[in-house]
C-alpha cells in the first residue's frame, strides 16, 4: 500500500486522504487499475476541477503520461497521452501556427481532463466544446480492455466519456484537431455594459465574434446590477507566432480568509470596472492574458484562505433569459457573498454527450469562499437554476444534491446504463459520483 496523501481539487475543499498511484507507463497504469479495482478509483490529472470530482480513496494520477505521440501537419491532428497539459501543447504548437480549438480559462489542465469535463471556452457559441474536435480517444475500461472510441466506434461510450467525469474508465490517449492561426496575438475589444441587460444585448450584437466573454461585478446592485466589461476577440493576422517568455507571480502561502471580504472585493470590482473609462477600447494582446489571465498568478486558489472556496457555474436556457439571470444575480448580490468578478457568457447549442454542461443560454461563474451560510445559499441558487431549466457544471460542483443532479442532467440514466454495460460502475467512482447518486 502507498502512503496516504492529502489531496484536494482546485478549490482546496474538501481535503481528503488518498492513496495516489502515478504510473510512468501504460503497463504501470494497467497494473494500478488491477490493484485498486475492487475498491473503486478515479483518475486525476492536474487537479484543476474545483470540487470533489477528482477525489477518491484510490487515485490514479495520469500526469506522468504526458507524451506527444504524433502530429500531422497537413490536418493539424495531434495525438497525445491524456496526461499532457494544454500549456505544453500551446508551447509546442503555437510557434508552428496552431492553436487549441477550444480552451477553458486555464491552460494548466490535462487533455484527458479537457475530454472528461468536455470543457468549453470563450468561443462556445460558434465552436462548441472540446469534444467537438476530438477524433478519437483510447479508453481503458478495464486492464484487459482498451477501446478506441469516437463518433463512429463505440460511439455511445464516446458520448458518455466526453463530459463523463472519468466515470467510464481512464482515458489513455486523445487525438484531436488543432486550429491553424497566423499569430499568437488576439485583437481584443473591451466594451462597457452599465448593467445586465446591456451586457446581454452586447453579446447578441457580437454573436459573430469568435471569442466573447464578460467580467461582471456581481456585488453591484440597483440600476448597476450586472455591470460588466464585455471582451471580444479575434485571432490577429500579424504573423507573429513567437511567444515572449513570461514569469507568473506566485501566491506563496495561504492567505487569511478575512482578507477577502465584502468591502475589499467591492473595491476591487469597482476599480476593475472603472479601469477603462471609454465606452470601448481595442488592443492587441498576447493569447496568454486574453485566455488565461489568472494563470499569471500561480496558486491563486490560496487567496481564499484555509477553508478553501468553490466556483459556482450555472447555465440557464435562453428562454429564461434576462429575467432569470436578473433574479439570480440579484439573489447573489443581496447575499453579499459573491466574490471577485463573475464570468458571464452566452453558450451555443448543447451537444450529444450525456453529461456535458453547456446548453443554449446564459452561463455565469463566480467564486464563493467556503463559509457558514454558503451551502444554504447554493441550495437556493440550485433551486432557481433548476426552475429555469438550467444546471450547474460538474467540474466545479462540490455541493449539488442527487435530486438536483438527476433533474438537471436528464440523460443520467443512459449514462449509468453505459457504465453498467462496460462494467465501470462502482469501479471508477469519485466522492462526487457518490454524492450525486451515481455510485454507492
Amino acid at each position: 500500500m502507498k502512503a496516504i496523501q492529502r489531496i484536494h481539487g482546485w478549490g482546496r475543499y474538501p481535503i481528503i486522504g488518498a492513496e495516489v498511484d502515478a504510473p510512468l507507463v501504460v503497463s504501470g497504469l494497467k497494473s494500478a487499475v488491477e490493484n485498486y479495482g475492487a475498491d473503486g478509483m478515479i483518475s486525476r490529472g492536474l487537479g484543476r476541477s474545483y470540487g470533489d470530482s477528482s477525489l477518491a480513496k484510490y487515485v490514479i494520477d495520469t500526469r506522468h503520461l504526458n507524451h506527444l505521440l504524433d502530429f500531422d501537419k497537413n490536418t493539424g491532428i495531434v495525438t497525445c497521452n491524456a496526461g499532457i497539459s494544454l500549456a505544453d501543447i500551446l508551447d509546442v504548437f503555437v510557434p508552428l501556427g496552431w492553436f487549441l480549438p477550444v480552451t477553458p480559462g486555464t491552460k494548466h489542465i490535462t487533455v484527458g481532463g479537457a475530454v472528461a469535463s468536455d470543457v468549453h471556452g470563450k468561443n462556445h457559441h460558434v465552436s462548441g466544446c472540446f469534444s467537438d474536435f476530438v477524433e478519437h480517444i483510447k479508453l481503458l475500461v478495464n486492464p484487459d480492455n482498451l477501446l478506441l472510441c469516437s463518433e463512429t466506434s463505440h460511439s455511445e461510450l464516446f458520448h458518455a466519456t466526453c463530459g463523463g467525469m472519468g466515470l467510464t474508465g481512464i482515458i489513455l490517449s486523445v487525438s484531436f484537431r488543432l486550429m491553424p492561426v497566423s499569430s499568437a496575438y488576439i485583437d481584443q475589444k473591451t466594451i462597457k455594459a452599465a448593467n445586465l441587460s446591456e451586457a446581454l444585448a452586447l453579446f447578441e450584437q457580437n454573436y459573430a465574434s469568435t471569442y466573447s466573454v464578460a467580467w461582471m461585478d456581481c456585488l453591484a446592485t440597483g440600476s448597476s446590477l450586472g455591470r460588466s466589461l464585455l471582451m471580444i476577440g479575434e485571432h490577429a493576422q500579424d504573423h507573429k507566432l513567437a511567444c515572449p517568455a513570461k514569469h507568473p507571480i506566485t501566491i506563496p502561502v495561504e492567505m487569511p480568509s478575512s482578507l477577502l471580504n465584502r468591502f475589499s472585493i467591492q473595491l476591487f470590482n469597482t476599480l476593475y470596472y472603472n479601469r477603462i473609462t471609454k465606452q470601448e477600447v481595442a488592443h492587441r494582446v498576447h493569447y496568454e492574458p486574453f485566455f488565461y489571465p489568472l494563470d499569471g498568478i500561480q496558486h491563486w486558489n490560496r487567496l481564499y484562505g484555509k477553508n478553501g472556496f468553490t466556483q459556482y457555474q450555472f447555465v440557464i436556457p435562453k428562454e429564461a433569459g434576462q429575467e432569470g439571470m436578473n433574479k439570480i444575480v440579484k439573489k447573489i448580490a443581496a447575499s453579499g457573498k459573491g466574490s471577485f468578478l463573475a464570468v458571464l457568457k452566452v453558450f451555443g447549442k448543447q451537444n450529444d454527450n450525456l453529461l456535458s454542461f453547456p446548453l443554449a443560454g446564459y452561463t455565469l461563474a463566480l467564486d464563493f469562499k467556503i463559509e457558514e451560510g454558503l451551502f444554504p445559499l447554493l441550495d437556493r441558487l440550485d433551486a432557481m437554476v433548476l426552475d429555469y431549466g438550467g444546471r450547474s457544471y460538474l467540474t466545479k460542483d462540490v455541493h449539488m444534491s442527487e435530486l438536483t443532479f438527476k433533474l438537471s442532467y436528464p440523460r443520467w440514466e443512459e449514462f449509468q446504463a453505459i457504465r453498467e454495460q462496460n462494467g465501470t460502475k462502482g469501479i471508477f467512482a469519485s466522492y462526487q459520483s457518490r454524492r450525486l447518486g451515481l455510485d454507492t
Partner: protein
C-alpha cells in the same frame, strides 16, 4: 543541429530538458532502463521537432556495458555537443541505515556509475576538443543531513569529482557544468512531504539547465535561491545543526 546524449533520460528533469532541445531540432540519443517509457519519449521528442531521437537500454550499474554503449553512441552521433548525466535514485535512507548492502548499492547507482561514465566520457570529449558535460548533482551534497545523507554522500562525491574534472577539461576546451537542483516535483520525490514554497517543476529546472549550458556556467543552483539557502545551511555551526531535523 545540436547532438545531445542523455543518460538517465527518463528522469523528469532529463525529459524536460530533452523536450527543450527537441524544440531546437536537436538530435537526441537517450539511455535509460525503462524501454516502454523510452519508446514513448522518443515519439514525443520527434513530434516536438527533434531531428532524430534514438534510444538504447542501459542500466548504469552494469558497468561492463558502458564502453560498448558509448561506442555505439559515438558511431551514431559522431560528435557529442552536450551530454547530460541525469540518472539517480533517492533511495530509502532508513533502509540504508539498517542494511549495508543497500547503502552501498545506492552509492553505486548515484556515485560509482557516474564516475565510471564520466571517466570514459572525459576521454572522448578531450579528443573532441569541445562540447559540454552536464552533470546533475544535488544541493543534498553540500552538507550531510540525517534525512538523506546517503544520497547526499553520493552527490558530494560527484560534485568533488566534477570540480577536479572541470579544471582538467577546461584545458581542452571542454566545458563541464555541475548542476545542483533543489527540491523538484518528480516521480523520485513523490509522496515526500515537501515545503510547497520551495518545490520547483522539472521544466523550470530544464530551462535553467539549457540556459546555463549556453552561458557556460560552472556550478548551477536551480532554482537560483538554493545557492543562498545552502550558503546558510553550510554555515550553521554543527553544535546547532545537530539539534535540527533537516
Amino acid at each position: 543541429m545540436k547532438k545531445i546524449l542523455i543518460i538517465g533520460a527518463t528522469s523528469a528533469i532529463a525529459e524536460a530538458t530533452a523536450k527543450r532541445y527537441a524544440k531546437e531540432r536537436a538530435s537526441l540519443y537517450l539511455l535509460a532502463r525503462n524501454e516502454e517509457r523510452l519508446a514513448s519519449l522518443t515519439a514525443d521528442l520527434k513530434t516536438r521537432g527533434a531531428s532524430s531521437a534514438l534510444y538504447a537500454l542501459l542500466d548504469v550499474n552494469d558497468r561492463s556495458r558502458h564502453e560498448e554503449v558509448l561506442k555505439e553512441v559515438i558511431k551514431t552521433l559522431g560528435t557529442i555537443d552536450v551530454v547530460l548525466i541525469a540518472h539517480g535514485t533517492l533511495g530509502d535512507q532508513k533502509a540504508c541505515e539498517d542494511n549495508v548492502e543497500q547503502a552501498l548499492f545506492e552509492f553505486e547507482t548515484n556515485a560509482v556509475s557516474t564516475i565510471a561514465l564520466l571517466t570514459r566520457l572525459a576521454n572522448l570529449f578531450e579528443k573532441q576538443h569541445g562540447g559540454t558535460i552536464a552533470v546533475i548533482s544535488s544541493v543534498a551534497g553540500d552538507r550531510g543531513r540525517p534525512s538523506n545523507y546517503l544520497y547526499g554522500t553520493a552527490k558530494a562525491a560527484i560534485t568533488t569529482f566534477c570540480q577536479g574534472l572541470q579544471t582538467r577539461m577546461f584545458k581542452s576546451g571542454v566545458h563541464l557544468i555541475i548542476i545542483k537542483p533543489g527540491i523538484v516535483a518528480t516521480p523520485m520525490t513523490e509522496g515526500l512531504s515537501m515545503p510547497a514554497m520551495l518545490v520547483a517543476e522539472p521544466d523550470q529546472i530544464a530551462a535553467d539547465i539549457v540556459r546555463a549550458i549556453e552561458k557556460k556556467t560552472d556550478t548551477l543552483y536551480t532554482p537560483w535561491f538554493w545557492k543562498y539557502i545552502m550558503l546558510g545551511i553550510i554555515h550553521v555551526p554543527s553544535t546547532l545543526f545537530k539539534k535540527l531535523n533537516l
